[in-house]
C-alpha cells in the first residue's frame, strides 16, 4: 500500500504503474453505467436480452420512436427554457445583491446579509408545502411560473457573488463615479465584467441544478405538457415498464445535453465546482 501511496518516491516504478492502472480501471468502471445506457439505446428490442455490450446492428430506431411522439421534445424545451430563465434571474439578482452588500456602506447591510444567509439553513423540503399552498391560492399550480418562482434567487449564489465582488478594487468604481456613471451602470458595466469567472460558475451551477431538479416540478405540475425532462422521463419509464431499450433512450436524451456541455466546457466546469465548493 505504502509503495503505491508514496507521494515522494520516484517518478516511475511498478507501484506507480499499478496505481495508475487501478485509477484508470476505476474510472472506466465509473462510466460503465453511462456506456451501457448509450449502447442499449442503440439496440433494437430483439437484442435487449443478449448481453453483448456493443449492439450487433446499431440503430437510431429507439430515438426515432421516443422523439416522434413529441412529448420528449416538449419536456426538453420545458427543461431548457425553465433552466435558462432561472439562470438569468439568478445571475442578475444574486450579483446585484452580492454587489450591493459588498460595495455599499449603509445601515442594515449586515442584517440583510445575515438574513439572506440564514435561509441556507432552511431545507427546501420544509418550504414545498407552504409553496404549494401559495401556488394553489395564486393560481400558479401547473404553470411554468409555478415551477420557476421558488428558485429565482438563491442565498448561495448571493454569497458566492458577494465574496467575488469584494475582490474588485474600489478605485475602478470610484473612477467610474467621477466619470459621472450612475450606480447601476457602474455595477453592470464596470463590476460585472470583472467577475466573469464567478458568473460563469454560478450560471453553470444554476443551470445544472435546474436541469436535474426533480421534487418541486413533480409536485407543482400535473399536465404532462408542462413536465420537465426528469419528471417526464419518470412518467415515461413507468408506462414503458418492460421496454428497457426505450427507457435507456429516454435516459440518454436527458443526459446527453449535460455531458455535451461538460465536454465543451470541461475546464470551466471543474474550476467552477472547486470555486463554488471552496467558497460554499
Amino acid at each position: 500500500m505504502s509503495a503505491i501511496a508514496s507521494p515522494l518516491s520516484g517518478r516511475t516504478g511498478p507501484g506507480r504503474i499499478l496505481a495508475w492502472l487501478l485509477l484508470f480501471g476505476g474510472g472506466l468502471l465509473m462510466v460503465t453505467p453511462l456506456a451501457f445506457m448509450f449502447a442499449t439505446s442503440l439496440k433494437d428490442s430483439s437484442e435487449i436480452y443478449d448481453l453483448a455490450f456493443f449492439p450487433a446492428h446499431p440503430t437510431l430506431e429507439n430515438y426515432v420512436t421516443v422523439l416522434s411522439d413529441g412529448r420528449f421534445l416538449r419536456w426538453f424545451a420545458n427543461s431548457f427554457g425553465i433552466a435558462a430563465v432561472v439562470t438569468l434571474s439568478n445571475v442578475f439578482f444574486d450579483s446585484l445583491v452580492g454587489y450591493t452588500l459588498a460595495k455599499f456602506q449603509f445601515r442594515g447591510r449586515y442584517l440583510v446579509f445575515i438574513a439572506i444567509l440564514s435561509t441556507l439553513m432552511i431545507p427546501t423540503e420544509m418550504l414545498v408545502i407552504p409553496w404549494y399552498v401559495m401556488a394553489k391560492n395564486f393560481g400558479w399550480l401547473d404553470s411554468y411560473w409555478g415551477i420557476m418562482f421558488p428558485g429565482l434567487m438563491t442565498a448561495f449564489g448571493t454569497f458566492l457573488m458577494k465574496q467575488f465582488f469584494e475582490t474588485v478594487p474600489n478605485d475602478f468604481l470610484e473612477a467610474a463615479r467621477v466619470d459621472g456613471l450612475n450606480e447601476f451602470a457602474i455595477f453592470w458595466r464596470i463590476a460585472m465584467p470583472l467577475v466573469t469567472p464567478a458568473l460563469s460558475a454560478l450560471a453553470i451551477f444554476t443551470f445544472l441544478g435546474n436541469w436535474t431538479a426533480f421534487i418541486w416540478p413533480l409536485i407543482v405540475t400535473t399536465s404532462k405538457e408542462l413536465y420537465t425532462l426528469p419528471v417526464g422521463l419518470t412518467s415515461f419509464a413507468v408506462e414503458a415498464q418492460v421496454q428497457w431499450e426505450l427507457i435507456m433512450t429516454g435516459a440518454a436524451l436527458a443526459t446527453l445535453p449535460t455531458l455535451t456541455v461538460f465536454l465543451v466546457l470541461q475546464r470551466y466546469i471543474v474550476r467552477g465546482v472547486v470555486l463554488a465548493g471552496l467558497k460554499g
Binding site: 501511496a5 448481453l51 434567487m153 471543474v270
Partner: protein
C-alpha cells in the same frame, strides 16, 4: 406639464442629497425586489411551515389547530421510525464510504500526470447526470436474468440470483450505490483542489526529516485537509439526509408505493412527499419537515463547532 414640475422637484431633492445619502438610496433600490422575494418566498413560508405543523389540514376544509398532536403522532408512528432509521442508514453508510473512496482516488490521482485530466473526467462524468435518469439505468442493472446485468454477471460466476430491489435487506444498499456513484466525482475534484492547496515545502521538509509516507499522510496531509474534509462531510451528510430522486425512481412500482418493499428504502423526504401530496395530510407532513429541519440544523451547528475548533 405637472409631470415635468414634479420631476424637477424630485431632481432638486436628489441633488440636495450628499453623495453618501445617494448611495444609501441606490443600495435600498437594488435590494427592494430581492428583499420582497426573500420575505415572501423564503421567510414567510418558513414561518408558515411551523404553523401548518400544528394543524390538521387536508387543503379542502379550513385548517384545525391541534397543537403538538402531529408530533405526538410521529413518535408513535412505526412507519416514521422505520423511515428515520432508513434515513440514518443512508447517512452513516453513504457519507464515510463515499468520503474514503473519493479520498483514496484523489490522493493517488494527485500524483498522476499521464492522462490526469482524462481520468478525472471519467470519475466526474456521473456527477453531471440526472438522478432520475440514472436511477432507471441502475434499476435495469438490478433486474433478474435475463435482463439485469448484475444477475447475469452473478450467474456467470455461478452465484445464485439476488433479488436486489425486491429484497427488504438488499434494497437500501442497492438504492444507495448509485447515489454514492453519482456524487463521487464531485468529492474527488474538491479533494484534489484541497491537496493542491497544501504547500510543497511541507512535503520537502518531511522528506528531509525522513518521515515515512504513512506518517506524512497522517501528520501533514490529513490535518491540512481538515477544512476540505469538514466541508465534504457536511455537504455529503446533508445530501444523504435529503435523498429522494433515486429512491422515488428506483422503487416506484416495485410495490404499490415508492419506498418499498415494505418501506425498506423509504427516506424522510419521500415520506414527507407522500404524506403531503398523496394523502394530503398537510399538517402531519409539515411536522415531518420540521423534524428534517432540526436534524439538518444539528448537522450545520456541528460544522460551525468543528470549524471553530480548528
Amino acid at each position: 406639464m405637472s409631470l415635468t414640475r414634479h420631476n424637477d422637484a424630485q431632481g432638486r431633492l436628489w441633488q440636495g442629497l450628499s453623495l453618501r445619502q445617494k448611495q444609501v438610496v441606490w443600495a435600498w433600490a437594488f435590494l427592494a425586489v430581492p428583499i420582497l422575494f426573500y420575505g415572501l418566498i423564503r421567510f414567510y413560508p418558513t414561518v408558515e411551515a411551523f404553523v401548518i405543523s400544528t394543524t390538521r389540514w387536508n387543503l379542502m376544509t379550513p385548517p384545525a389547530f391541534v397543537g403538538l398532536a402531529n408530533f405526538e403522532r410521529l413518535l408513535t408512528d412505526p412507519v416514521f421510525w422505520k423511515v428515520f432509521a432508513n434515513t440514518f442508514l443512508y447517512l452513516v453508510i453513504g457519507t464515510p464510504l463515499s468520503l474514503i473512496l473519493s479520498f483514496v482516488i484523489a490522493y493517488h490521482l494527485d500524483r498522476v500526470r499521464f492522462m490526469h485530466g482524462f481520468i478525472r473526467a471519467l470519475y466526474f462524468l456521473p456527477f453531471l447526470t440526472t438522478a432520475a435518469a440514472m436511477a432507471w439505468v441502475w434499476r435495469w442493472f438490478y433486474q433478474p436474468v435475463p435482463i439485469g446485468l448484475f444477475n447475469n454477471l452473478l450467474a456467470g460466476l455461478g452465484i445464485p440470483q439476488q433479488p436486489f430491489l425486491r429484497s427488504t435487506t438488499q434494497a437500501l444498499p442497492a438504492v444507495l450505490a448509485p447515489a454514492i456513484w453519482a456524487g463521487l466525482g464531485f468529492q474527488v475534484v474538491i479533494f484534489l483542489a484541497g491537496l493542491r492547496a497544501i504547500p510543497t515545502t511541507y512535503y520537502e521538509a518531511a522528506r528531509i526529516d525522513g518521515l515515512p509516507d504513512l506518517a506524512i499522510l497522517r501528520r501533514i496531509t490529513l490535518p491540512l485537509l481538515k477544512p476540505t474534509i469538514i466541508f465534504l462531510v457536511v455537504f455529503s451528510s446533508i445530501g444523504f439526509l435529503r435523498i429522494f430522486d433515486q429512491v422515488y425512481n428506483m422503487t416506484s412500482q416495485t410495490s404499490s408505493d415508492p419506498g418499498g418493499p415494505l418501506n425498506a428504502t423509504k427516506p424522510l423526504v419521500l415520506m414527507i412527499y407522500q404524506t403531503a401530496f398523496s394523502s394530503f395530510e398537510m399538517g402531519y407532513a409539515a411536522a415531518q419537515t420540521v423534524v428534517l429541519f432540526l436534524v439538518l440544523l444539528c448537522v450545520s451547528l456541528l460544522q460551525l463547532r468543528l470549524l471553530r475548533d480548528r
